[in-house]
Amino acid sequence: MVGDTADRSEIEAAIRGQRADYVEVRLDETATNRIVYRGRELEEIGRTRSFGGNVRALLRGGWGFVSFNEPSELRKRVEEAVEAAGHVGKETSQFAEVAPVGDTVPLELKNDPRTVPLAVKKKMLDRYNETILSVDGVTSTNITYSDAHKRVLFASSEGSYIEQERIDVVSRLSATARKNGDMQQASMSLGALNDFSYVETLGETARHLGERAVELLAAPYVEAGTYPVVLDPILAGVFCHEAFGHLSESDFVYENERMKEIMVLGRQFGQPHLNIVDGAAVPGLRGSFRYDDEGVPAQKTDLIRDGILVGRLHSRETAGKMGERVTGNARALDYRFPPIVRMTNTYIERGEMSFNDLIADIDEGVYARNWFGGTTSMEMFTFSAGEAYMIRNGKVAELLRPVKLTGNLFTTLMNIDALGNDMDFNQGGGCGKAGQMPLPVSNGSPHIRIRDVVVGER
């Protein structure tokens, strides 16, 4: 039971009989362990616990949202939210119908981080930190590890009552090398849902990061310009998320007539080999769950099929307003925020080409791997590679300093001209939108090749 103070009958009584079109209550409780190193020093180790809740009310198309850490007087909070909604609402609520759900979803644990003593976790991270520092030329490190066990209770005025749990295991390792005032960094972000296992085997990764940071000191900057680019599955995943994923979120579209014209179903966005899917129903990934934060069952949604836009991601409100089916993509970072349309696990489906064939025809290009980050404004986006090499005469050549790539939705997706026959998922990091960050999602792809990408030198 989330929050020992919350009682089912009390919650149901509080939301029943309100003068609103819809009311929901969400309570969540998260226990987090966190360990951070910087250089030789352990910077912090701590346990945090957050507990809080919110009420969201819809009336005549207007929303009221109240969040709190103090759960008592729930009925008063509900009334407050209903009153706020009434102050806003001047239209008719359009909220897609879904069947109410009563369910308790148990943890599907693989390797439970809660059973690993803090001393053992620390010893493991000590070793990775030492491994990075033992590489000649490395001057510092930064390691962050956290595991967060979250339990969420959702109840709605339509009769839904759902309890769900998850554990996010997230880490980031980073090595810094420094020489004559020049500094270079190599890093890697990893994550898993309900599974500690990957944390046990990061020794090799740690050593590679240290070595690459040192190598980067001697590496050149790319000559800025336009190149054919090959992305590894991890960076291609971030590319797919930034370049297209966010634009498929209907809250960017549903109130915007011009955007509706741009994102009209049936429009061609890519070559016929391009297929992009999002879905929390794909099991075992960081964006996976059983029900979204409006109690809608998780699904799998085709976004692009054979290069054509065929679907988009919805909350109940955006689906209702656009007259489309719900997709189970309404998600909230935690109790402080209302659910908004978000991605879950977003990926480009695999193609048929081997890596060697992907690069064989490239006389001068860039092979970019891994990520530092990515950002989109819908039409234009950037994403930065954690690792990059020149491709010369069909072969991977010299290491480059980190590069930034930029693209335009309407040309870059169309310029994906080959898809690899491999597949991998990026589960590190998190997604940020409307101040809600980092939301656990994953993204994946095979290796992909894109023509004419603008590459910046840093």
Binding site: L42, E44, I45, G46, E70, A224, T375, V455, R458
Partner: protein
């Protein structure tokens, strides 16, 4: 900071540090988690030699507009406590937002202490705090209807100039009380208010998307809405035409919005005492040395009245001050919290900032770049071919620690023959902030606040790498 669009979404690695500190505290919770005394006593009783409680209570009311009309009214109440304990010379840490959680909080902190970092700090005793105004009772009583009116009038004003603009807007008021208490007898508490408004506009023509936006923030119930309007209108006017940039080394003028979006992050991280101590700052060994253009001065100042970054003392109870970072091009000081100061044999500069999620870290408060001599108009007039940058997208993602910045020009204009000739797109600008600030043509004569925490004039760079299709 300074994102021009609400349609702005990122991929990033920030793991758990979700700072949540805007807003206030009038909700009493039976003193269970909001009174530091029982927490400190329990910590000492259960084995801590020293302890410190950090308590935040806040209330925030944001109203949100979507697609030109009011969409949502929110009310956020938050309260939480973070506890640091020192046991046998090591620091343990725990936090909770769960009422009635005192014993679990204390036990969790004590449990982590044996594995924690060695303590190189002592908690401050009671002392005089700086006299800094951060509270305005008028904010508390601002009617929601007035906030709605502010948002709607901003939207109406810019749409009068460009009727097709689709606007989102936020107007927020908040009130928060911060309390820090420690077993050395230190007890520090203050109450602060915040009021802010932000407008984002999107203009779509065919597949071309233009994002404009600006806002203002203060601790007082007074915002300069006319300036916000004027800024957005000028962005619209400079973007009437779209033109093309070319790949070259070109002179670039960064506006205050552009500076906040791209340069402040990579510049200020180098002044973190933690980064310097760990050899992760390019300014290691540069204290007292002339590293930048001799006209450049940069301050971190938590004592400015009614600025959202201001406070009488930092989140460890150390009194606020005005820290010179760069004086006439010379590196003057780095920023420290207590633990880092102890490690580096330095003194805390009152730069500790914290959330419920983590131990204190070093942060800037309000950053101020001193004004120079040249007007923005004159800067543009001097450029034969170059760019004006209002916002670089994705600039903070790369080798930021080394000072690199690089981003897509989300909003920026081309200068040809001394005049702005239109907006550029699909263009990147890149450089290294420490290098670029050595080669300034001029510092602007007109300063403004961006996002409440950076005050800067425009900066005119001799040459940066521009790449375009």
């Amino acid at each position: 900071m300074g994102a021009l669009t609400s349609a702005y979404a990122t991929w990033w690695w920030v793991s758990v540090d979700c700072r949540n500190r805007v807003g206030t505290g009038t909700h009493e919770q039976g003193g269970v988690l909001t009174d530091p005394e029982p927490i400190l006593q329990a910590a000492q009783r259960l084995g801590a030699q020293r302890a410190e409680a950090f308590i935040v209570q806040s209330e925030e009311t944001p109203v949100r507009f979507e697609a030109n009309r009011l969409k949502e009214i929110n009310a956020r109440q938050t309260s939480g406590v973070a506890l640091r304990v020192i046991v046998n010379g090591r620091i343990g840490f725990a936090s909770s937002t769960k009422p009635g959680d005192v014993s679990e909080l204390v036990e969790a902190a004590l449990e982590t202490a044996p594995f924690g970092p060695e303590a190189h700090l002592d908690f401050p005793r009671d002392g005089p705090a700086a006299d800094v105004d951060v509270y305005d009772p008028d904010v508390e009583v601002l009617p929601v209807d007035e906030m709605i009116e502010v948002g709607q009038s901003l939207i109406d004003a810019v749409r009068a100039v460009e009727p097709e603009l689709l606007c989102d807007a936020y107007v927020r008021r908040g009130d928060s009380t911060v309390t820090i208490a420690n077993t050395n007898g230190g007890m520090f508490t203050y109450r602060g208010t915040g009021y802010s408004a932000w407008l984002n506009g999107t203009l779509i023509r065919g597949t071309d998307m233009l994002f404009v936006g600006d806002g203002d923030a203060s601790c007082r119930a007074q915002l300069d809405l006319k300036a916000v309007e004027a800024s957005v209108v000028s962005q619209l006017e400079n973007s009437r035409r779209t033109t093309e940039a070319r790949t070259a080394e070109l002179p670039v003028v960064f506006t205050p919005l552009g500076i906040a979006s791209a340069l402040i992050g990579p510049l200020t991280i180098a002044f973190s005492g933690r980064m310097v101590h760990q050899g992760q700052s390019p300014l290691v060994g540069c204290l007292g040395k002339a590293m930048y253009d001799a006209r450049l001065s940069l301050w971190d100042d938590a004592t400015l009245p009614y600025r959202p970054g201001s406070r009488p003392f930092d989140d460890e109870g150390v009194g606020s001050r005005r820290n010179p970072l760069i004086e006439k091009g010379i590196v003057r000081s780095f920023l420290y919290d207590l633990q880092t100061a102890g490690l580096a044999k330095a003194e805390s500069t009152g730069s500790a900032e914290r959330s419920m999620a983590a131990q204190p870290s070093i942060s800037t408060t309000s950053l101020v770049i001193d004004e120079g001599e040249m007007s923005f108009k004159e800067m543009v007039g001097r450029v034969k071919e170059g760019l004006v940058v209002e916002e670089l997208m994705g600039a903070g993602q790369g080798n930021v620690m080394g000072g690199d910045f690089s981003g897509n020009v989300l909003l920026g204009y081309k200068i040809e023959g001394g005049e702005i000739t239109g907006r550029v797109k699909d263009t990147m600008v890149a450089g290294n902030v420490h290098e670029a600030l050595k080669r300034l043509v001029a510092i602007g004569s007109e300063s403004r606040w961006v996002g409440g925490s950076v005050r800067t004039p425009p900066l005119f760079f001799e040459s940066l790498t521009v790449s375009a299709k």
